[in-house]
């Protein structure tokens, strides 16, 4: 059957037949790098056009419809525009940090790709602490934002960076706690094992209400962590013009932009992996026929379908809600999400010990 893992295996076989082991590894690395970069660029293009179309339809507009069929290549045109814009470095800025920040943002976004299972047996690195890796690396994101805000020598940027610092570190907690709920159920931090544990049903269905609460908390927390509206205080365009990337232009801005979207993709992929079974197809109990039909759909489609559903959810939030104020944002975390997810974790633990799940 055609699948990503088959392709990967056949490439590996072909390479190891024709080259010596060192070259095989080097060529494989190059292929992986190119593949990841193309995925990155493709994600940026797709998510931008998706965001624009979603927002347009929610706002009773048509959205971009000039470039390409139904405006499909609009984001390509945008990229081209950003490419020929001058990437300014302001005079008073800390030039080194200023130029370093977009790189950090990109590296963080890229590193998070490692443990994600895009399809069955198709994963860059199935490390045994995959989930911990994700939550650890994703908090480096804040450093790039702080760096950008501080180095810009702009008051708006500084405020935006400070806000996002307080925001991201706060929401890190409830995101981590909701991830832990799944970990407790599974008993493993490895992504492949977490997916495997959902063979007979996704955690969101198996885990009853507590798992649903964990899922909702997770979605809220990652929305905040990726600086998406209604938690986009780091940019808050009506207060701080553009927040931490006020001074960025051209390609440097585009990299931040891309990193943001890829981050959204990654957190949604993690969410889909933890709660919606990753690439596992949708099965209903004993309906053999139905389950077989579901199995025929390739695993990568399942994965991307679930991920894009979550991305759509996050976009839906963005185009519906007003922005929170900074103190309300932190109140939400410290007074609601954190206590709820802590108690929820205890309930989930009790459930796991009692075996009150399917």
């Amino acid at each position: 059957m055609w699948s990503f893992s088959n392709i990967a295996n056949s490439i590996h076989e072909w390479l190891s037949n024709n080259f010596n082991p060192t070259w095989t590894i080097i060529i494989e690395m190059v292929i992986a790098g190119v593949a990841v970069i193309s995925l990155f660029a493709l994600l940026g293009l797709v998510l931008v056009i998706m965001e624009r179309k979603v927002s347009a339809w929610m706002q009773i507009r048509l959205g971009p419809n000039r470039v390409g069929p139904k405006g499909m290549f609009q984001s390509l045109a945008d990229t081209l525009k950003l490419l020929v814009k001058e990437g300014l470095t302001p005079g008073g800025a800390d030039k080194f940090l200023f130029n370093l920040a977009p790189f950090i943002a990109m590296i963080v976004a890229m590193l998070l790709m490692a443990p994600i299972a895009f399809a069955k047996d198709f994963q860059l690195w199935d490390l045994n602490i995959g989930v911990l890796f994700v939550s650890a690396v994703s908090s480096i994101m804040v450093i790039s934002i702080l760096m950008a805000g501080w180095a810009s020598n702009n008051k708006y940027s500084l405020m935006g960076a400070m806000r996002s610092g307080a925001q991201i570190v706060s929401y890190e907690l409830s995101a981590g706690l909701s991830i832990l709920a799944v970990v407790v159920m599974t008993g493993s931090l490895q992504v492949s094992e977490i997916i495997e544990s959902q063979r007979n049903g996704w955690w969101i269905f198996k885990g009853h209400l507590p798992m649903l609460i964990a899922f909702v908390t997770f979605i809220i927390a990652v929305t905040a962590e990726t600086n998406r509206a209604p938690f986009d205080l780091a940019e808050a365009e009506s207060e701080l013009t553009a927040g931490f990337h006020t001074e960025y232009s051209g390609m440097k801005f585009a990299l931040f932009f891309l990193a943001e979207y890829v981050n959204v993709f990654i957190v949604c992929a993690i969410g889909a992996t933890l709660f919606l079974g990753g690439w596992m197809p949708f099965h209903i109990g004993k309906w053999e026929g139905f389950n077989h039909v579901m199995d025929y759909i390739p695993s990568s489609i399942w994965f991307f379908g679930k991920t894009f559903f979550l991305i759509f959810l996050i976009m839906w939030f963005r185009w519906t809600f007003p922005r929170l104020r900074i103190d309300q944002l932190l109140n939400l975390e410290w007074k609601y999400l954190l206590p709820i997810s802590m108690i929820n974790l205890l309930i989930v633990t009790a459930m796991a010990i009692l075996g009150w799940h399917f």
């Binding site: 990155f40 020929v84 590193l111 570190v169 706060s170 990299l255 633990t349 796991a352």
Partner: protein, 116 residues
């Protein structure tokens, strides 16, 4: 691919961003202008230093976060074995959470969670 994938990814990220910025640098000739280097503050020259001390309100959150984040790190190994350990794990973590929660309540009562 294993741990070497991290190196690949880092190199890929640097290469991608580097090439993108380099291409945009090559495409156009930069022009210099005194106004261009000024920080954007709605078209008004900025007053005073930007790199000043900010109100401490931001940092208290960071401190509390530190406590809770360390707690979170403790929780990860616990979570892996919790199911196998059974009730003792739950009791342990309830005690752990209770102490933590007291600290949280204390911070809340002291007004550390109030935005200043």
């Amino acid at each position: 691919m294993g741990a070497s994938s991290l190196i690949v990814l880092i190199i890929a990220a640097i290469a991608f961003s580097g090439i993108a910025i380099l291409v945009s640098k090559l495409v156009l000739k930069p022009t210099t202008n005194k106004q261009k280097g000024e920080p954007y503050e709605c078209g008004i020259p900025t007053q005073g230093k930007t790199w000043t001390q900010l109100n401490v309100g931001y940092y208290l959150f960071a401190l509390i976060f530190l406590i809770f984040d360390v707690e979170l790190v403790f929780l990860f190994p616990w979570a892996v074995v919790a199911k196998g350990m059974g009730w003792i794990a739950l009791v342990e973590i309830v005690i752990f959470f209770f102490i933590l929660f007291m600290g949280f309540l204390y911070a809340h009562k002291k007004g550390a969670l109030k935005w200043m």
